[in-house]
Amino acid sequence: MIEWIAQHIVAKYNFWIAIVIMLTGLYATVAKGNLLKKLIGLTIFQTAIFLFYVSLSDVGTLSGLGLHYGTAPIVWEEGIHRGYMYVNPLPHVLMLTGIVVSAATTAVGLALVVRLYEEYGTLEEERIMEKEMEIDKRGT
């Protein structure tokens, strides 16, 4: 039992944290009624994906103990033969792009939230829907 926990939970704790953060974000995005909070949830969700990618790149994990031996690719410590155990740099670079995309999405989302607030005077989804219904009724 303890071995199982060590292998599947302790050794891979960063993936578990990524899953927890991801679901927190997804829950906030779906369940919250406030448009700004939804957007915050979305950002949390995206951040969890970055954590997942960055965790992937750590190739030097000693399974079962949760110890990480990976180093930066350019660092070579004398005496310790682990030159091949460097951290894969590609996922980090991918996530730099991902962060830019996420920032752009958040920026567009925030701009929309500001415009929505100007238009309806509230950010609660239910209130906005009520006001939209009123507009529709007046229209016909």
Binding site: L26, T29, L35, K38, L39, L42, F45, Q46, I49, F52, Y53, L56, P91, L94, T97, G98, V101, A104, T105, V108, G109, A111, L112, V113, R115, L116, E119, I128, E132, I135, T140
Partner: protein, 503 residues
Amino acid sequence: MLPIEQFPVLVVAISLLSALTILLAGWLNKKSCFYISLATITFQFILSIFILRHVLTVGTIHYWLGGWRPPWGIEYVVDALNAYVLIIILFLSLLAAIYSKRSVEHEIDEKKLVTFYTLFQLLVTGIAGVVVTGDLFNMYVLLEVCSLAAYALIAAAGGRALKASYNYLVMGAIGVCFYLLGIGFLYSVTGTLNMGDMRLLLPALYGNKAVQVAFVFILIGLSIKCAIFPLHTWQPDAYTYAPSVITVIISTAMAKASIYALIRVIFSVFTVDFITLFAPIADIISWVAAIAMIFGSILAIAQFNLKRMLAYSSIANIGYIMLGVGLSTSTTLGLTPALMHILNHALMKGCLFMAACGFIYKADLRDIRDLVGLARRMPYTCFAFLLAALSMIGFPPSVGFVTKLYLIFAALDAGKYIFIAVIFFSTLLMIVYFWHVIEIMYIRVEEKGEKEIKVADAPMSMVIPGLVLAVLCFIVGIIWLIGTPMPLMDAINSGLGLGVAVP
């Protein structure tokens, strides 16, 4: 001698540069924005014709960005499938650009004109980029480029469009994040992001759970972007409240680019072997598509807003394409019906939305019930609508008829007769809602007075693109029936390993 190997990257790079040029030129002269955008898209369209010819005569084009050899560098690959979709989306973008001149002047605040065209050009860049790229992560970035442009452009209409755009943003961002997560799983087991390379590495790993989970994530993520039935909730509002020209371009070019991405990942990265290994995948896709075909049509009947009706009709039509995809593994026709409907639906829906937005432009008519006797006031726009609606219903020899015919052939060939019934039922429902509109426009007469009816159609730049598409609905239908493009379809099917043997 033209350097055709360079064209795939030019289609994207010139468009991107043009977007920045529009932003700068807009400071000097606001009028120039439209002409720069039109010239760029025309140029892109001409490039795409050369690309298609080259692909058919010589073969697949590979372009290595920065000269880095794949799988290390990013690669743009254009084979028969890309070239076919690229030409469709750029043709529709071109018509939308022509259409944009008057409608944007009418709907968009003059101060926003410059940024509007900048974003419009970025949208075209993203769409073209999604179609030519051969790298999974690059596709993610380009999907986000066109989505972000689309969110902002939808919101440009103001009012109700803001909430529609916000919902689209949240759904779209979740969808693309799922796609990104799927790529992460694939990368963790294969160590590559290049589609061609991954196709070679994956078969040994089909039993791996990470690969299977990745497939599900990517399928769901891209289904949100395509608005496939249970994941369509953002779509009707976004199509209804967006500015006219944006409705036209996102319902045709952008929807088709997302579906292309889905087909590319399913058949080119995962291949048919993976799908047939897990028997229910194709069946699930077909059944979901069948539900979408009926559900979309039923909801379309319930609508009074013309644009919203067309939006629900789009959901039904995406169902037709996905039914073609679902049936493709078990018939000798392969993807042909799905690919046909990608072109056919773009033509029909482009025309219908152009006409519907023409009514709004000229007389602010959004409700179907207000269209009484409109055929006499706006004869050309209504005629375009009529042709496209007939085509949608499946009047021979229109494109809608050809799609339905081939889907029925595919279902017969696959021995799944239930889908024939679904196609007939969905067609009946389509007749109900399109006939309703046609009857109001053409047959019902205005009750009030015998006032002289003035013929006042929308401006020529808005009528002609619609009429071109309406006439093409029938001409392309005849071309399909003659079978001229069949060598292209065979090339695509054989490239994806489809349509050869029935398992």
